[in-house]
Amino acid sequence: MKLDWRQSILYIAALGIESCWLYALLMLLGIKVAGGNLSIPGILFLYPVAFLFNRLLRLLRWPRACLLGISWLAWAASMLLMIKVQLFGHLPLSDTAWLLSIPQSLVQVIYTFRPELLILISTVALWWLGRRLAYSSVNFVALVSKFQFGLVILAFTFLIASPLGVTLHGQVPITLAFFLSALVGISVAHALEGTSWLSGLNQGHWGGLLLFSISLILVLGLLISVVITPDLLQFIVDAARWVWGLITRGVAFIISLFPAPEPASMGPLPEEPMAPPAEEPDWSELLRMPDSVRSGLRIGWTVMVVGFLLFFLWRVSSDIFRWLRRKLTGMSGAEFEPLPGAFKADLLGLLKRILFWWLRLRLLLGKRTKAAALPEVNSVRQIYRQLLRWAGAGGHPRLSSQTPHEYCHALSGLLPEVQSDLALITQQYVLTRYGAWLPTEGELGQLSQAWHKVKQNKLKRLN
């Protein structure tokens, strides 16, 4: 299949759009899961490779199942290569530890998300996207869809990066590249198809159309930047704070209506009985509710919320079905067979299944939950697990025969500037794990600070 050069531009634009949001998303996940020690361009490189590989496969006139098998075999090889290069570069190929790490990461997925799993999932996604692109034609509608979807993912990634405490580098270049790819792709596709009022005016002059579109976007961007000033943003933020203040005051008033959870501590008794002060009666006291009423209200509230959710689900699903019915009845040759009560039965079946699986999961995790019931202990162990993952992703995993103190000593040699923080994390872990010690809130705070200080450093990879 020969590609027209304009068609090639469309493919490149599609690759560009998807690469941009994939890069941002993978960078965010890479920092959270592997402490930023994974090479994201290296992983992303698989996407064009998958596209080209599947494009070449498409030229072969072999059975579809055979092509599918070859394609996913190539994915498996690429994924293994990626894990070896990215995470276990220091190990020889003959050492099976890096191969065993994949099933281990799958087994431990309930408790921890390891970098191996991130590579596994991201390579599956990249390979699937590359294959899909190779087998599909890129047109105006497809590009607009890609642009819309990519924009949502990109905005979502940038928005959640800050609350998660992750600094994403290169947000501006990524955004520029995304819009440039989208703009070029959509303009070229539009000019090729020539289906709108613009094509009537500029038929055959798609270059002019491209320039016009870019100018239009730039002018719009300029207008937005003129209107949205820092003062306006500050005003919006102040307004939001005022509204939030109102809400919190309201909530505080509602909370004040409930009885105090613990009786106030008794001070020393006065020597002489004092006459009660002649004060006006506090009407809010009359609104105080006893515990039994409060429990009843809580159950009622839960039932109401669950009921609303179910009703919402019912309404949305009904609307979708009504819309589908309208569409289908309008189609020639299509038959519509009403099944009264089928949807209700399906919905109840789904809810039952969810309940069943939830109960089963609780049963499976019951023992573990009992063993690690105390949140303070869980916090310390969680931080230590994060340290292990972070150092492991940095090329310095803990050897299975190393004790926490031995591992701390080894890491301290690599990061002498955070030696005291590493020692603090290790000591707290050892106390909690082997000494059955409950850390205080202050100790947990110190531990958290130490971990934040440690993870800001980057480990040098061993050759």
């Binding site: 281990q104 292990l388 103190h405 050892v430 082997y434 000494g435 059955a436 010690w437």
Partner: protein
């Protein structure tokens, strides 16, 4: 795990303080070798017996005497020779002509601390008479069972090079020793310090006891209260079980070895001021507590793989109980 249990666990600072006192005292005689002195103290705190093995002139007897003298307990010394009889160790019933009755004259084993110098020079018969006293803290003489004073500690020395005229200790006897330590040659600086320290007088002569019997017994009880988390306990048994399956070992460590390692780890934790055991304690004690109890295969011996090397290999291959 509950907060109350943690709070009621005893403070180990008395053990740490006493250990520091004793180590400083012994260090007045023994230059360097702090780790070996600490191991000797571990054995004392577990009421286990200590075997010191090394070449002549290293200070084995000196260490044993210094430790014994630092503890304010009754002390006896037995010089093992091929003509030493069991009755020379346990004591005999003799006929007192004045009272016209048989009376028991206790042997040197009837002491709190017994130093058996060059134990492998005694005959197997005499060595065997020590089994009962070492394990059950009692001796049986002429159908009469006599309990030994508490605490009862045997410190034995043996020389691994001069094998002529010696009788290697049987495995049953070796298993009775909680720890076996080796002193090793001193460094150049340490050797210089030994010369200057012993130039005018023997510091052993002026050594005072720093720990009384009653105090030692209390510390022993305190050490038993050190907390051992379940996974650490499993780690101890995993190490001993691994010795039984190792390709280079003919006879692995016994359950008594597991118990010994467990108790020794508790004592070491207490000496270091902790009321809980960590895997580092177990790793540190694995070689001194297990290696002497193993019998390696001939192939391993021919390849020069000592029991110590095999235990070290096992410890460095077994996973430590830590988060994944």
């Amino acid at each position: 795990m509950d907060k109350t249990a943690k709070e009621t666990r005893p403070d180990m600072s008395p053990v740490k303080e006493a250990a520091s006192r004793l180590i400083s005292n012994v260090s007045k005689v023994i230059v360097g070798k702090r780790e070996t002195i600490e191991l000797a103290l571990v054995a004392m705190l577990c009421e286990g017996h200590l075997l010191i093995e090394d070449v002549p002139g290293i200070g084995k007897t000196m260490l044993a005497k210094a430790v014994a003298k630092s503890l304010g307990c009754s002390f006896r010394r037995i010089q093992a020779t091929p003509d030493l009889l069991p009755s020379d160790v346990t004591g005999i019933h003799y006929f007192n002509q004045k009272t016209s009755e048989f009376e028991f004259r206790p042997g040197p084993i009837m002491a709190n601390i017994v130093l058996i110098d060059e134990i492998n020079r005694a005959t197997p018969r005499t060595q065997s008479c020590l089994l009962e006293s070492m394990q059950e803290q009692q001796v049986t003489v002429d159908l009469e069972t006599i309990p030994l004073p508490r605490p009862f500690l045997v410190i034995a020395t043996q020389n691994p090079v001069e094998l002529e005229g010696t009788f290697p200790l049987p495995e049953a006897q070796l298993d009775r020793f909680l720890l076996m330590v080796k002193l090793g040659y001193p460094s150049e600086d340490e050797e210089g310090a030994i010369l200057s320290r012993f130039e005018k007088e023997n510091p052993l002569d002026s050594l005072n006891s720093v720990l009384e019997t009653k105090e030692l017994l209390e510390l022993q009880k305190l050490c038993r209260q050190v907390y051992v988390e379940e996974s650490v306990r499993n780690y101890v048994t995993a190490i001993t079980r691994a010795t039984r399956d190792h390709a280079g070992i003919r006879l692995g460590a016994s359950p008594r070895a597991s118990l010994g390692l467990h108790l020794a780890a508790q004592a070491l934790a207490a000496i270091r001021g902790r009321n809980y055991v960590i895997p580092d304690d177990v790793k540190h004690l694995a070689v001194p507590a297990l290696a002497h109890r193993l019998i390696s295969k001939t192939e391993a011996q021919l390849r020069g793989r000592s029991s110590e090397a095999i235990v070290s290999e096992i410890v460095s291959s077994l996973p430590v109980p830590v988060e994944e």
